[in-house]
């Protein structure tokens, strides 16, 4: 029987104490494992949310908040100037206008309903209060291609269902019309309608999958600027950045460039504010993780110290019999390692079992306190809604709202836990660290015990 086997055997010498030490170690290790798993789950979710967010930045005139109107339009020059900012690959400018029933022969597919009747035209001040004829939104854009994949219209998923898109620099009196609006007014590719006294030719139809978004008409930016007597005016822009990591830098540069004239919102910023509670969970779990490992090491350290004190005489006897310090120390390390391995085995299984409830408890506790930024998110997303219409919410707000509420609940429902190899390796490393730290002080004490002590007055 060698020192290691003696050590393992000694671990079971005092059954009550052994069970106590192993249980406490197991609880600490279970806690650290579940924190690690929670961290992994949160980390995975954070990076998946980050990578799913767009690499775009919204620019709107300062104080221009959705349906509430307000603010002074930006100029084309201001917007095109943004192209000179590093990492900016494209700038999609929009001019959002409203066609009232006197300015067009089109009929809005939207009926106001009782709420619309109550609030119709109440916002923005530009609309005519009416219960029957709602205005139609026209979006002038210099990037119809991008609009059709979700740019200008606030992030929808528009698809060109027929016809073609106009060119970015077009000045023609043409439009791509949402399918809902087209159906309501019997428009096809080649049809015409009037707007601001001009005859506009429909060159394409799009489907964005939402009645609101499909009730709009997209026209060349220059055309809308001319017809709506809004020369050089822009009500919003979407700036495309080459890389997710450069979004916040570009947003800062845009803010610096436009000063107080514009509100600059990156989807990333809104996402980051949504991720804040997740980051808090991550921080909590990191501290708890290290706290638990250190706590476990401390428990083992004190237990081993107690055991060494108790067996001081026995250690002296071993040394008197000719045991080397090394052999006695390794015997005690084997003993503390036995405690750790048992604690780790029980704790690992326990940690995996409790990690799921702990993760969801941590996350739901945190999500409750995260509702405050909601208003900001909605306000920012609503930037492109025109003024004056009734209850019809700006499609940007709808999208942002859906992202916020749907997105956040997704964030938490998709937080599933998994045990990775790195978790296993961590458990092993943690156990080794705990055993090493736990044995260190005991080892030093063992080395200092003088064998002559065994001959002292018994």
């Amino acid at each position: 029987m060698n020192a290691l086997r003696r050590g393992v055997r000694n671990a079971f010498r005092n059954a009550m104490r052994s069970v106590g030490v192993v249980v406490i170690l197991a609880v600490a290790i279970a806690l650290s494992i579940s924190m690690l798993i929670a961290r992994d789950a949160v980390n995975a979710k954070i990076s998946s949310v980050r990578s799913s967010t767009g690499n775009t930045i919204s620019v709107s005139p300062a104080g221009f908040f959705g349906g509430q109107g307000g603010g002074t339009a930006l100029t084309t020059a201001q917007i095109t100037g943004l192209l000179s900012i590093p990492n900016v690959t494209a700038v999609q400018a929009q001019l959002s206008e409203r066609l009232t029933s006197t300015q067009t022969n089109l009929t809005s597919p939207t009926t106001a309903g009782s709420l619309g009747a109550r609030f119709g035209g109440g916002f923005g001040g530009g609309g005519t209060p009416t219960t029957s004829a709602l205005s139609i939104r026209v979006i002038g854009t210099n990037s119809p291609g991008n609009s059709l994949v979700g740019g200008a219209n606030g992030g929808g998923t528009e698809k060109l269902t027929s016809g073609v898109a106009f060119s970015p620099t077009s000045t023609a009196d043409v439009a791509i019309v949402g399918t809902t609006l087209a159906t309501k007014n019997n428009l096809k590719v080649g049809s015409t309608f009037t707007a601001w006294g001009k005859t506009i030719t429909v060159v394409g139809l799009y489907d964005a999958g939402s009645t609101f978004a499909d009730s709009d008409a997209l026209m060349p930016l220059a055309t809308v600027q001319t017809l709506a007597a809004a020369t050089n005016q822009v009500t919003g822009a979407t700036v495309v950045v080459n890389n997710l990591n450069n979004v916040s830098g570009a947003a800062t540069a845009i803010t610096k460039k436009l000063g107080t004239a514009a509100d600059v919102t990156s989807t990333q910023a809104t996402v980051e504010s949504q991720l804040a509670p997740l980051n808090t969970v991550k921080t909590i779990s990191t501290y708890t993780l290290f706290g638990a490992v250190i706590g476990a090491a401390l428990i083992l350290l004190l237990s081993m110290l107690m055991i060494v004190r108790e067996r001081r005489r026995e250690i002296g006897v071993l040394k008197a019999l000719g045991a080397t310090n090394r052999s006695v120390v390794s015997q005690f390390i084997a003993e503390s390692t036995t405690f750790t391995v048992l604690g780790a085995a029980v704790g690992f299984i326990g940690g995996i079992l409790v990690s799921s409830p702990i993760t969801s408890a941590l996350v739901s506790a945190e999500s409750g306190s995260s509702s405050s930024p909601g208003g900001f998110v909605r306000g920012a997303g609503g930037g492109f809604g025109g003024g004056g219409s009734g209850f019809t919410p700006p499609s940007g707000a709808v999208t942002a709202g859906r992202f916020r509420f749907g997105g956040l609940s997704n964030t938490f429902s998709q937080l599933h836990t998994s045990v990775s190899w790195s978790t296993l390796i961590f458990a092993l490393v943690a156990a080794i660290v705990i055993a090493a730290l736990g044995s260190s002080v005991a080892s030093a004490t063992i080395t200092r015990i003088r064998p002559a002590e065994v001959l002292r007055s018994e």
Binding site: M1, R13, E314, A320, T324, L455
Partner: protein
């Protein structure tokens, strides 16, 4: 042959210096049983701890069959303790969670006794001290005091040391058992040709030794 010359050990305590062992000089032949008697605190245990290399002397030399023990480094001292010295204590000092036989094998392990002979050697030692297989498998707390001391003697002699140091080995035993233990030490010393130093303050025990030394205030004198 053990030659001890002018061995001294002083402890510094709060109450001043304690000369526990002063200028001790004596010789002991192989197989000889030497009794050391003296009052409590006279330095008996300190002398044994110096001879067993549990502690280092301040001055003097210990020579064992031609080897100067004072010159050994810490590794050499550990090896000497494992192979050339056997201890028998008043409190037996068996390892409580090891059986009698395992306690004996512990000494064989530390002395690096050939692995495949340890079992047979332990059995032989148990037979020498008169313990059967049943007793051999028991833990110390299931043995009487006399039996525990027999195991301790078997453990001390197991690695065939040149020197046995017994510090009041009968101190925890009744008179009759104590006599038997000393008898056992004498026989073992004889058969194994081992020098045995027995510390005692029992005159009757001391009288069984080949020679008697008296220690008083750290100084050793031969009793004729």
């Amino acid at each position: 042959m053990l030659n001890v010359e002018k061995l001294s050990k002083t402890f510094k305590t709060e109450g001043g210096e304690v000369h526990a062992v002063r200028d001790v000089t004596f010789h002991a032949a192989d197989g000889e049983v030497v009794a050391i008697i003296g009052a409590s605190g006279s330095g008996k245990s300190t002398l044994l701890s110096l001879l067993g290399l549990l502690d280092a002397p301040d001055a003097g030399s210990i020579e064992m069959n031609g080897t100067q023990l004072a010159n050994l480094d810490s590794g050499g001292r550990t090896k000497y303790r494992a192979r050339e010295v056997g201890f028998v204590f008043q409190a037996f000092n068996l390892i409580p969670n090891l059986s009698a036989k395992e306690n004996i094998k512990l000494a064989l392990e530390f002395s690096n006794w050939p692995k495949n002979d340890r079992d047979a050697r332990a059995d032989a030692m148990l037979a020498m001290v008169g313990l059967d297989a049943n007793k051999a498998s028991r833990r110390p707390n299931k043995l009487s005091g006399g039996e525990q001391q027999r195991v301790a003697i078997a453990r001390a002699f197991a690695a065939q040391p040149q020197l046995i140091l017994a510090d009041e080995p009968t101190g925890s035993l009744d008179k009759a058992t104590g006599q038997k233990i000393v008898q056992l030490l004498r026989e073992a010393a004889n058969t194994q040709k081992t020098t045995v130093l027995v510390v005692t303050h029992d005159e009757k025990i001391a009288n069984q030794a080949d020679r008697r030394l008296e220690i008083e205030d750290g100084a050793l004198t031969e009793i004729a």
